[in-house]
Symmetry: C2
Subunit: 108 residues, 2 copies
């Protein structure tokens, strides 16, 4: 994973954010959708600990920093138009704050 290559290809939106889909690297389950700013992207690629930008709290957060439910980055993809990234991660514990494995537990 090459940070400068990622920064070349990712297109941050007017708010300075890019959408990030986290997928369990082993099971293929889609775990959550969150947002990254440039700093979150940099820290994620540098440390392999997934970081996001919280739009509600307006702050950078390392996933699992309070819950312990961390995400370790295994693979990193940028989509065809650069406005979404896909993170294949090793998820420790549940990804969702509700205690569910994935945020998409609600099947309609």
């Amino acid at each position: 994973m090459n940070l400068s290559e990622a920064l070349k290809q990712v297109k941050f939106d007017a708010r300075g954010l890019v959408a990030a889909i986290a997928q369990d690297a082993k099971t293929g389950e889609v775990l959550m959708l969150a947002w990254m700013n440039r700093e979150a992207l940099e820290k994620t690629l540098q440390t392999k600990d997934v970081h996001y930008w919280s739009r509600s709290r307006d702050t950078l957060w390392r996933k699992g920093e309070t819950s312990g439910h961390t995400q370790k980055l295994k693979e990193f993809y940028v989509d065809c138009d650069g406005d979404t990234v896909l993170l294949k991660v090793e998820q420790t514990g549940p990804a969702c704050h509700t205690g569910n494995k994935t945020c998409f537990f609600n099947k309609i």
Copy 2:
């Protein structure tokens, strides 16, 4: 899949949109991220042909209407805070306009 239940749980943003992740129902591959407005959501659940809202063209589109690369909805999930939906789909042909199976073909 119950449309009125979906409309109860989905929270459209200030632009009237919700993020939609399409995942191949068979392989688990994440195919693309796009956006839905209320009409796209309604048509998708009613017809099972996936519809999105194009932010660049400012119009409703049925996935595959020009390319033939349609998506048939198999399962529909709403995430824990209602601002993202996950569509498990049967993808005909490539999902990406580049001709790649998925929009996330670019591994960094």
